[in-house]
């Protein structure tokens, strides 16, 4: 027998195949899952199960281990062949737990022991579905990741606005200045700008201006002629030449020495460079994309950055928000990084516990996305369960209350704003118990009530 049904709720986008040769067990599981809103297909033997797998795309398969000629392990293998992301749950009797454990090692998501408990079925299937949907979403993101706009992960208003801006300037060849704190994805944005442009098929060359001394930077950027200095046994083109007709990304351009700034200006204005030791200019056609975490305009006023160069590179300006300004993107980013770890690691985790995700969303990330990535990668290596739990996260996220002083506009926050938020946080932590909150804050209850009134906090 093979039948499918759904009750038309939102979950019917999730397709589940149930395979069992015991009629009562099959009907029970189908009934439980249909009530949850899944679209369920039932199969009474291995042959029908394989036919169903070939005919439709399922998200989750529940299969008994012993079915006859074609057993649960064969169904597991076939399902994974057709779709490596499908989740398979093995059902087994008490005497075959060892076989079920072996099946889990072959890629089964979990196993259920008979007699089946409805809550257990619901819980394990829900976890399998969650993992499946998350991996599908990450897969879609990765499919679009070729360095284009979709490589910038996030759905918050600020990031959406940046993606739209990059899309709008796709047809332009103007130079771009990207600003933002360390770890906010400035290089990612630079690559997205390049890949959206008509120069996408030409080179993208990245240079970190802070990594080189002045002499080395000059040689790297402009190259040198043969015998220009001791050891220059042949002519060597620089990075600007190698990026010809493409884009050059100058990271930390605020750290570029003044002498280099002058030479770069010439390259941008005249579209020609002089190699070290050279006398004949060499034509270059590059788009400049620059990034900095410093206030270049202020550096111009201080005299450490050339104003004419600033205006040449700041034709289009993109500001990457700090992660604390787009906290709604944290779950998606964290899941993306976790999925990447699962793909490259030797195991797979289903996601984050509710408590772990709450901790991740509360933290302010002075190190921005790069810091979040590191935290997730560390948690992945430490996690022993199926999901990342709060205890897998670094202790300063869970035990200590770090605080980054910024306003929503990226400026430093006033002490009043900080005090208001901190008192609100302490009240939540203490369950709005005024005595405990006052004690934790080191003030008396009268003072606490005064502050609650002052900031119109919930009490």
């Amino acid at each position: 027998m093979s039948e499918s049904d759904g009750d038309g709720t939102a979950c019917t986008c999730v397709k589940i195949l149930v395979v069992d040769d015991e009629e009562i067990a099959l009907k029970t599981m189908c009934h439980i899952l249909k009530k949850e809103g899944y679209a369920v297909t039932a199969a009474t033997d291995g042959g029908r199960a394989l036919a169903a797998l070939s005919g439709a795309a399922f998200d989750v398969v529940l299969t008994d281990l012993f079915l006859g000629q074609i057993d649960g392990l064969s169904i597991l293998a076939r399902a994974k062949d057709l779709d490596p992301g499908i989740e398979v749950i093995i059902i087994t009797g008490f005497a075959t737990v060892d076989a079920a454990v072996a099946a889990t090692r072959k890629g089964a998501f979990h196993f259920l022991q008979k007699p089946i408990k409805p809550d257990e079925v619901r819980n394990i299937v829900a976890r399998a579905v969650q993992k499946r949907l998350l991996e599908k979403r990450v897969f879609e993101l990765e499919q679009a990741v070729a360095g284009g706009v979709s490589s910038i992960i996030g759905t918050s208003p600020k990031i959406t606005a940046i993606k739209k801006l990059i899309g709008r300037i796709a047809g332009s060849d103007a130079n771009v200045l990207i600003t933002g704190e360390s770890g906010t994805g400035k290089e990612l944005a630079a690559r997205a700008v390049h890949n959206a442009s008509s120069r996408a098929k030409r080179p993208f060359v990245a240079i970190n201006c802070a990594s080189f001394t002045e002499a080395l930077l000059g040689n790297e950027l402009f190259g040198h002629e043969k015998e220009a200095f001791t050891g220059a046994t042949r002519t060597r083109p620089g990075l600007l030449e190698s990026a010809n007709e493409g884009s050059v990304f100058f990271d930390e351009i605020g750290d570029m020495p003044p002498a280099m700034q002058a030479k770069l200006l010439r390259a941008v204005q005249e579209r020609e460079i002089l190699r070290v030791g050279g006398t004949r200019p060499v034509n270059v056609d590059v788009r400049v994309i620059a990034a900095t975490n410093r206030d270049l305009k202020e550096l111009c006023e201080l005299g450490s950055f050339r104003q004419d160069l600033y205006y040449r590179i700041n034709v289009i300006s993109i500001h990457m928000p700090s992660l604390s300004e787009r906290k709604e993107d944290i779950p998606l980013l964290a899941s993306y990084f976790l999925s990447r770890c699962s793909k490259t690691g030797d195991r797979s985790l289903s996601g984050f516990s509710d408590e772990a995700m709450a901790v991740l969303c509360r933290y302010d990330y002075p190190g921005n996305v790069r810091e979040l990535q590191n935290i997730v990668e560390r948690a992945f290596s430490l996690a022993r369960g199926e999901a990342v739990s709060a205890c897998d996260l670094p202790p300063d996220l869970t035990d200590v209350a770090p605080y980054a002083f910024r306003s929503d506009e990226g400026r430093i926050r006033s002490l009043e704003m900080v005090e208001k938020d901190y008192i609100e946080w302490v009240l939540r932590q203490t369950g709005y118990n005024k005595t405990r909150a006052a004690e934790a804050l080191g003030i008396d209850r009268v003072s606490l009530y005064r502050k609650i009134r002052k900031y119109a906090l919930k009490d």
Binding site: G367, Y403, F405, A440
Partner: protein, 156 residues
């Protein structure tokens, strides 16, 4: 600086070379020999996550006693050594004078500061702002390009 520390061992010169600040780092700042333990822990964690070095900067008033200067030297050595023991590249500096000005001078010559972690008394972050009495760090915060962070202690 005296040739020998109070324990008789020769004092090592602190890293005081200006202009070597191109290395990207977390700047851990305090204004005395006291270092808030949880802020230091947090600074180390942040440095590890970001792949950054730690520069420890003690900004003290020019009128501090010689005993306090010795304590400051020791504090710098111990802090840098503790960070290095965890595999973090660390340098330590002490500056004496107007703390706000010294901080700005430091930042002007050390462009690799990616985040400032306040390692002094965390209470200054929460004091109400009173006219002419706010902490010097709060007076210069508007000049900074990087985020300021600090640890407020163990959660309730």
């Amino acid at each position: 600086m005296p040739d020998k520390r109070p324990d008789g061992k020769p004092s090592k010169p602190l890293a005081e070379t200006w202009g070597e600040g191109m290395v990207n780092h977390v700047l851990l700042v305090t204004d005395s020999a006291y270092l808030h333990e949880e802020s230091f822990f947090f600074a180390k964690e942040l440095a590890k996550r970001m792949g950054l070095a730690i520069n420890v900067l003690i900004l003290a008033d020019s009128g501090v006693s010689s005993d306090e200067r010795r304590r400051i030297d020791l504090s710098l050595e111990n802090t840098a050594a503790s960070a290095r023991a965890e595999g973090i590249t660390a340098e330590a500096y002490a500056r004496f004078g107007d703390q706000a000005s010294e901080l700005l001078k430091y930042l002007a010559t050390h462009s690799g500061t990616r985040c400032l972690v306040w390692g002094g008394d965390p209470g200054i972050m929460l004091e109400p702002v009173k006219k002419n009495s706010s902490h010097w760090l709060m007076r210069v915060r508007g000049e900074l390009d990087c985020p300021i962070a600090g640890a407020l202690g163990k959660k309730a």
